[in-house]
Symmetry: C2
Subunit: 538 residues, 2 copies
């Protein structure tokens, strides 16, 4: 039976010596012979653990400055032979089985991080280690292979509890881990050598994939994977409550988290189809939520909402989930925050389907952005900046509040191109997205969409009749700032903005028609600021 | 000097025997001793090439059903020792250098494609091969390693022309290839073993990366890579002319190619910010181009344009690149087609910056679609279908032309959500996108954008005054069909469409308010078709 394999002989050869003594002691306690090499042998002997020198097994010396230690007919045979079929042959050839190897590979990655020379990198490519690891993994039906010090404790425990043996299930898992390890190891070597030849290559591994209900649409299968060796991933969100996350939920979540991550005060973003249709920051979370909602109270229904701070009950009561009037209950898909208070959670749990998710946007430190096209990859640095240089280019010199300037840039950076956004500082001091237009084939469309939304929202907040609606709009629009993600190709956007009452525009500049755009501003008395930085996003 | 290494001894052990005899003959002709194993040896001996049996070198038998053939102190020492530093040690240990190995690994991939059992897969994991390959690669300063039969010819040529030697440059390239090969090999093994454990994992490799001028914006670095082992990639486009492609160009190109690939007749797509703002198909390419352009003549400037058939001169003359009136010249960024006639090319070459690209959209057969989020991956099947079931749900029974139905679905599938598109069949029989709205947080926005664009375009084509403009619009709008990428959540979209004169609507259906939407259609005399298939795209 190969179900349990009693570990009678183990080979230990590790570059990371942490934890190896404890494991070796457990093996000895269970009557296991330990074969070892060079540095590992010294550490074990110092801990008074009897060790068989590998040269006794191989019959060969350690040679060529350590390049040859384990590789031999004897060691790899001991790992590879079939304990049933090849038993007699092994006997004839004097090969005794090795039942376990514990091996970490030369630290190529560490050496690479130290910007080592090509020569040093090459010297740190392990040959003997991967050979043993791969041989043992191939023969997992009879042999265990441990490559990760993090596994020593569990392996030690199983050996102790299992009469010195490892189960087939454990050996299979160790085999999977071993091949993933050698795949990672050679992947890093391959890309490093490419780099040295000035050839750009990338290798990625993703695991822990789960099947989603479906992809973007129900006729498409969909899956969600975690990137290997990442300290933190979107897959690590903590789902406190609610229905299973869909493909589109996950995509919107990333946009929601991105939208609030750079806000400096208490912030809230409301996402629909990957674009923020509501965004606000200020001092009071409940007010900020209300401000964000007011950015597009129609689209906010069914949205994905993110906060950048612990969410309290008062904030979420705005959703009126317990209202007897079902039309007052604000249905949303997902709410994300770094933390929810107990009372906020209790309140939100009333809504059976609502997904409640803990994730700290500060943990989102993605440096790269990738688009997978037809058997190709577009790879870029994330757009982590806001502006290059703030330069007033018109006769009118707008005095734009510093926080509002930053808030507007965060909003426009997050919207899909072509994008326009109008933001304002409320009397309370809070910042608010008042209207946006995005995803358009031309900038005029986005400007029109934005203006329409601003007017609609001003209508909603208009208290009348102490002042005329038109006067109210005029007064409000004079205070807002319009941001464009890219330059104005023509002055038509200035005219439309002006007609809507807007007096301050921020755009990157850089068009061949900048002069005529500025002339139009001067003619109409509009103030314009150039930032020198475009924010296309697709 | 390690610059040139004369190949005095070579080890050949290949699973793919193609081309191996010719290479071995060249080696022999240059005085090289050939060491070989099992099947390879037989093939070489049959071709009358003298071969040293590997057991003579190792002193060990081939053992354990072939699991042990090459792995030995002798072979790996011969590959690994430093020809300078370790010379004396090698002498003492009777190790003669091996200067070249030619090795293909066990065909794990092939066996996998044959849906082999786990046992058979495991048996096809090569241990000795990767050990030799990695050892030789590590010692590339002195050893050559050939893993790909496609390289035999060049290697043979170099050996012949170079007095039996390989240069350091060649050995370095072979080393890079070797580590990429073992990385690929173990990557496939690792994901296969994960699969067997019902753990979903993915590994990708991209190479041939080139630095773009920048990413989506000038403050972001950008790169473009080819997916390894793909028979055809977007990187394989043939650039005939023009400025360097930008990050955004490449992204738009994919959208352009996707837009025309499923059109059954002569087709043209005009892309702005990844969305088709113009689309048409018919019999005459010039007319089709004009129809597509008329879909959004403002946004078409600076667009990316794709055709699905060979482009002729008459078609591109529509751009009026040679017009003396510079306002008549239609500036576009990119034109893509499977082929351009010589006269079309000559005409287009007038425009210095215009990128002219050959790529057959039929080659775009992508089955998967991926989004990289924060250290995670959303993976899905491509949206390759159009509709589930065509079902008229209203009293009014619209008789929609079959080609137009398909054309509308192709258009709506390609637009970013939320999306609405209006299409029509022209008197000529051509299909045309008359207006679209996309990328909106709510569907009403998209409907309004679409209707506005339709009216604007009808104004452009209106010949007046033989009939009143309003009558013309009414007549035209009655013939169009409006498509929605997802269900109508409310009946407001029906009302807006009706007011614009639209009488036929196609949408997936599936809302809890379908009944009230249908009721509204019946009340207004609008015909509605359900497709049962949503086409969200983000």
């Amino acid at each position: 039976m190969s179900n349990n394999i009693k570990i009678k002989r183990a080979l230990i050869s590790v570059s990371d010596k942490n934890g190896i003594v404890s494991l070796a002691k457990i093996l000895r306690k269970n009557g296991c012979e330990i074969i070892s090499t060079g540095g590992t042998k010294k550490v074990l002997q110092k801990a008074k653990i009897p060790v068989t020198d590998i040269t006794k097994v191989t019959g060969n010396p350690e040679a060529f400055g350590g390049r040859m230690k384990t590789i031999s007919f004897q060691i790899e045979s001991a790992l590879l032979f079939d304990r049933k079929k090849d038993k007699d042959e092994a006997n004839e050839l004097n090969i005794l089985p090795i039942d376990l190897i514990v091996c970490n590979l030369y630290p190529f990655e560490k050496v690479k991080q130290e910007n080592a020379s090509l020569e040093k990198l090459i010297e740190n490519i392990d040959i003997g280690g991967p050979t043993m690891v791969r041989a043992a993994a191939k023969n997992y039906k009879f042999v265990g292979v441990v490559v990760d010090p993090a596994d020593y404790q569990n392996i030690g425990k199983e050996i102790t509890e299992n009469g010195g043996a490892l189960s087939i299930e454990t050996r299979f898992e160790l085999m999977r881990k071993a091949f993933n390890h050698t795949a990672d190891y050679d992947s890093l070597i391959a890309t490093t050598m490419d780099e040295n030849a000035n050839k750009r290559s990338l290798r990625f591994a993703f695991s822990d994939g789960n099947k989603l209900r479906y992809g973007e649409n129900s006729h498409q299968k969909g899956y969600f994977y975690r990137k290997n060796n990442s300290s933190f991933s979107l897959k690590d969100i903590e789902v406190l409550h609610g229905k299973e996350l869909s493909y589109n939920n996950i995509f919107d979540m990333q946009a929601a988290i991105e939208s609030v991550k750079n806000l400096t005060k208490t912030g809230c973003a409301i996402i629909k189809h990957a674009n923020p249709c509501g965004l606000s920051e200020g001092d009071d979370q409940r007010k900020v939520f209300e401000n964000a909602w007011a950015g597009d109270p129609v689209s906010a229904f069914g949205s994905v909402i993110a906060f950048n701070e612990t969410v309290g009950k008062e904030t979420v009561e705005f959703l009126q989930l317990d209202s007897k009037d079902k039309f007052k209950r604000k249905f949303i898909e997902i709410i994300i925050a770094p933390f929810f208070t107990a009372s906020a959670k209790k309140y939100l749990f009333q809504h059976k389907n609502l997904r409640i998710i803990q994730f700290d946007p500060k943990k989102l430190d993605q440096q790269n952005d990738m688009k997978f096209l037809f058997n190709s990859l577009l790879f870029q640095e994330t757009d982590n900046e806001l502006f290059k240089k703030k330069k007033i280019v018109t006769k009118r010199k707008p005095r734009i509040n510093k926080e509002l300037f930053q808030f507007g840039l965060i909003a426009i950076r997050q919207l899909r191109s072509n994008a326009i956004v109008v933001v304002r500082k409320l009397d309370s001091g809070d910042m608010q997205l008042l209207g946006m237009g995005c995803g358009q084939p031309n900038r005029v469309n986005s400007t029109l969409l934005t203006i329409d939304k601003c007017k609609e929202n001003l209508k909603n907040e208009y208290n009348g009749p102490s002042e005329k609606f038109d006067d109210y709009v005029k007064k409000q629009m004079e205070k807002v700032v319009l941001f464009s993600d890219a330059f104005f190709p023509f002055s038509d956007n200035v005219e439309l903005s002006y007609e809507a009452g807007i007096r301050t525009i921020v755009q990157p500049g850089g068009s061949i028609r900048d002069k005529s755009v500025i002339r139009k501003c001067d003619e109409l008395g509009v103030g314009m600021i150039f930032t020198g930085m475009r924010h296309f996003k697709h």
